[in-house]
Symmetry: C2
Subunit: 207 residues, 2 copies
DNA sequence: CTATGTGAATTTATTCACAGCA
DNA sequence: TGCTGTGAATAAATTCACATAG
């Protein structure tokens, strides 16, 4: 099944696999079967095997997968090899949390710049990052920052996105609860945790 | 197409529709077509019509949909009518951000309790919520809190989930980067923002 | 004439079942 | 024998095209 288009759903699951595999690696486990990984992640084995099969022979028949090899392969597929520099726009409550958040670096991301419109915040230093005026966003290209994280109020999100695109970012992670349009091939991923929470009651029994 | 099983993907999109519709309502728009809503949300019109059709006739042919009516219907389907009380476990950086987060109430959620293991934090008051010892989690049922939000370290996540289930919660929102097993029909939704971020480079051009 | 609502067609994803290899 | 890798079968979701109602 090599040389096929990779299903979006497979790409969506790869970070899940990676997260679990890295967790196993920390524990010192260096070999695992599709069944073992499936149980650990709460998915089914054939799904894992099918997903991996799109990329080539990752495992050894009759034995299983080498955890370290899998981690390397998936990181390569997801282009997580290099460190990706990211800029945060909006240093409110959420922005502060994102600055402190340790989960990014597992995937090779590093928040190296922060911007805000509030003059009271500009110049302050948080986690070794000095908050800059949003007018400085245009310097991102020069600083080789290719990722933007929007944690601004909803009203400002679209405008911020456009500024980021002008500054040459290739991807945007949008935490504002709204849809954002960008020109060209820039990828936007919107995360609204309240939206995930909102479908919880639907699935909750007797409620 | 009434009296059909509702596709999970449709349920996943309902909060998106709701978010957009409530945003339109704030703007004072009280009528919209599937095309109009689709453009506003960045999806396609027939998807919206199909999704709505699972629940009955929401609109008027030749005219469109009444925004307020749609909002009411979707809130009803998602069981967001009543206020859902939620408890937060783990008041670290992420936990603090979640306590301050204003996005929950749009969907009728209210974080009314917070717990931590750290004795230095216990007793402190944040946003009118006094941080309690995790041993108090067992009081949740009495306090009619049916939702748990886990913002504890990964190692503690599974144990925390089990404590929450014993305390009678019906749903769990898990922010720890790991899979959680729960007995019975309790619904768990895991949110790991780094996982969404991790598939961004894959879709980014020339990177 | 407009925009919804929905069967039918198409595309996409999941699951199965087993061949193939260590 | 055990577990992977994968074509084939099944299931699910998306898209289309148009009948239908205001």
């Amino acid at each position: 099944m090599r040389y096929h288009k990779i299903p979006d759903e497979t790409v969506r699951r790869l970070p899940l696999y990676l997260r679990g595999l890295q967790s196993l690696l920390e524990k010192g486990q260096n070999s695992i079967s599709s069944k073992g990984l499936a149980d650990f992640l709460g998915v089914n084995p054939w799904q894992i095997r099918k997903d991996f099969s799109y990329f080539g022979d990752f495992g050894t028949r009759g034995v299983g997968y080498k955890v370290e090899h899998l981690v390397k392969q998936i990181r390569k597929i997801l282009k997580l090899g290099a460190v990706h520099k990211a800029a945060l726009i909006g240093v409110g409550n959420l922005g502060l949390a994102l600055l402190a958040y340790q989960g990014f670096k597992v995937y090779g991301f590093e928040v190296v710049a922060a911007f805000d419109v509030d003059s009271k915040k500009i110049g302050k230093k948080i986690n070794n990052i000095t908050i800059e005026n949003v007018s400085n966003i245009k310097t991102l290209k020069k600083r080789k920052i290719s990722l933007g994280i929007i944690a601004a109020p909803r009203e400002a999100a679209q405008e911020t996105a456009e500024t980021l695109v002008k500054a040459g970012v290739k991807g945007i992670l949008n935490f504002s609860p709204c849809y954002i349009t960008v020109p060209g091939k820039i990828k936007v991923i919107t995360i609204d945790i309240a939206m995930d929470l909102a479908r919880l009651p639907y699935y909750m029994p007797s409620c």
